[in-house]
């Protein structure tokens, strides 16, 4: 009986950290902080569930221990791979001379920034963006009409 109460407590502990991790992954502002939140699910949440399962069903304790050791080894590696890929992608974009993707902002921040800008500044920014767009899009070269006509005549 005591073992079962302890097991259910461990399960509730694990469930709590799973819920916290999911809320963090939804609410946190950028990729690296989201990785931080999902790491909580992988360690505290899953280990709470595994500990509770081992207490409730002692015959599977060895298999659960193996699963826990495996997750303990692989989960940080996977998280590190994702984080390193984020950094590497930013480096590649900088090497190519492109703007790195802007740090993500929640909508509330965007609303605050636009409200703080005066109308003339917004107009300036819009014009600058249009100029940059015109600068970056290459104009399609059309072959001169006379050349195309002469070619068609030859055929």
């Amino acid at each position: 009986m005591l073992l079962e109460v302890l097991g259910v407590c461990a399960l509730v502990f694990g469930l709590f950290f799973c819920a916290v991790g999911v809320v963090g992954v939804i609410r946190l502002p950028n990729t690296l902080t989201r990785l931080h939140a999902s790491g909580k699910v992988a360690t505290l949440g899953l280990f709470g569930l595994l500990l509770g399962a081992a207490l409730l069903m002692p015959s599977t304790a060895m298999r659960l221990l193996a699963l826990g050791l495996f997750v303990l080894l692989t989960s940080p590696v996977a998280t590190h791979a994702i984080a390193a890929s984020v950094n590497r992608r930013r480096e590649i974009l900088e090497e190519l001379g492109q703007e790195p993707e802007p740090a993500e902002t929640e909508e509330t921040f965007q609303v605050d920034v636009t409200a703080a800008l005066s109308r003339s500044k917004i107009q300036d920014i819009i014009e600058a963006q249009e100029r940059a767009l015109r600068h970056h899009t290459p104009e399609i070269k059309r072959p001169s009409d006379s050349g195309r006509d002469s070619g068609r005549d030859r055929d």
Binding site: L11, V25, T31, R34, S38, G45, A53, A78, V86, E104
Partner: protein
């Protein structure tokens, strides 16, 4: 198999809660602005699935489910590593 009705009910409730956590986690897969966000969310969903399978082993009283969870963890690791490599290098191999 768990004998007492209290532990059985608690395990089933926790299984239900874990399954219902899958839905908000998949929000980030759909809405995540970048590929790495989606990958992190898929990794999170796989971890939740491992927990769900372990809970299922408790409900059914079957040890084989724990082996299934181990296999899922192994394949999820390989998949996460290769997709992370695809994000950073632009190709897997």
């Amino acid at each position: 198999m768990i004998e007492s009705a209290f532990a059985q009910a608690a395990v089933q409730l926790i299984l239900l809660a874990l399954v219902s956590l899958l839905l908000p986690a998949s929000y980030r897969v759909i809405a995540g602005p970048r590929l790495s966000d989606r990958l992190a969310a898929v990794d999170l969903i796989t971890t939740l699935l491992i927990g769900i399978i372990v809970m299922l082993a408790l409900v059914e009283g079957t040890q084989v489910f724990v082996d299934m969870a181990t296999a899922l963890a192994a394949f999820a690791f390989v998949g996460t590593i290769s997709i992370a490599r695809y994000i950073s290098e632009g190709r897997v191999f």
